[in-house]
Amino acid sequence: RSQELVKELQDLQVAEQQLESLIQMCTTQFKLLTEDPENKGSAYVTCQDLRSIADPSEQLVMVIKAPPETQMQVSDPKEAFQIAVKSTQGPIDVFLCPEE
């Protein structure tokens, strides 16, 4: 039984390493994809897209565009519904999705 388990563990170790390298490859590939100038220009959603998901007659939809490494702090909801957003690399843009 012990030899069987050692063999299984080796196979699982190979499977885990394979997954790790695939994750690494995918992450790198995705970064290149999002930074490719050709894609960058067309990587947007429209206000119409947002309205198709959030019913604008009942919902207020606030959009936050923040530079990388911006910190968002959400207070413990038991005490207050509070969100603090703090950037170190540039101004943060916040706007409401227009109703129509």
């Binding site: 196979d11 699982l12 695939l22 207020l60 606030m62």
Partner: protein, 157 residues
């Protein structure tokens, strides 16, 4: 017996880690499929001309939605580096990935509502080496349906 027991524990831990890594990889694939689909859709639309000014939101972004009756008290620093929002009602926060999935950009793979046609499209958007992970997502929902089937740990891995 003790050694076997330790090996069993180690095996379960390894299987758990492999499951987590699989879902992390599948999440990355969903993001990639959703992103490429969005770009293709927009480039296709742009043939008829660019979108109207101020009607687009460039990725990445976040969305906070709340009831229209919510009062939001907002303080902003002069350099716009800091914002503080106080709501008097509950809110929800969603990131762009979540919105793209809701817009159907991930072809319903994560909800099991993907047609075989969409599955072909999804597989064409990822590297060949990863196609079977996309197929897995598609069949995974079938697997849950056939929950009676017992898969050996290695199969699952």
């Amino acid at each position: 017996a003790q050694e076997c027991q330790n090996l069993e524990v180690e095996k379960q831990q390894r299987i758990e880690r492999i499951k987590q890594k699989r879902s992390q990889l599948q999440e990355l694939l969903l993001q990639q499929i959703a992103f490429k689909n969005l770009v293709q859709r927009n480039q296709h639309k742009e043939i008829w001309g660019p979108p109207s000014v101020n009607s687009t939101i460039q990725l990445p972004f976040l969305v906070i939605n709340t009831s229209k009756r919510t009062v939001i008290d907002c303080s902003i620093s002069s350099d716009k580096f800091e914002y503080l929002f106080n709501f008097d009602n509950a809110f929800e926060i969603h990131d762009d990935t979540d919105l793209l999935k809701r817009m159907g950009m991930s072809l319903g793979l994560e909800t099991g509502k993907c047609s075989s046609e969409d599955l072909r499209t999804a597989k064409s958007l990822v590297p060949k080496a990863l196609e079977n992970y996309v197929t897995d997502m598609y069949t995974k929902h079938d697997l849950f349906l056939e929950s009676s089937q017992t898969h050996s740990a290695l199969d699952m891995a």
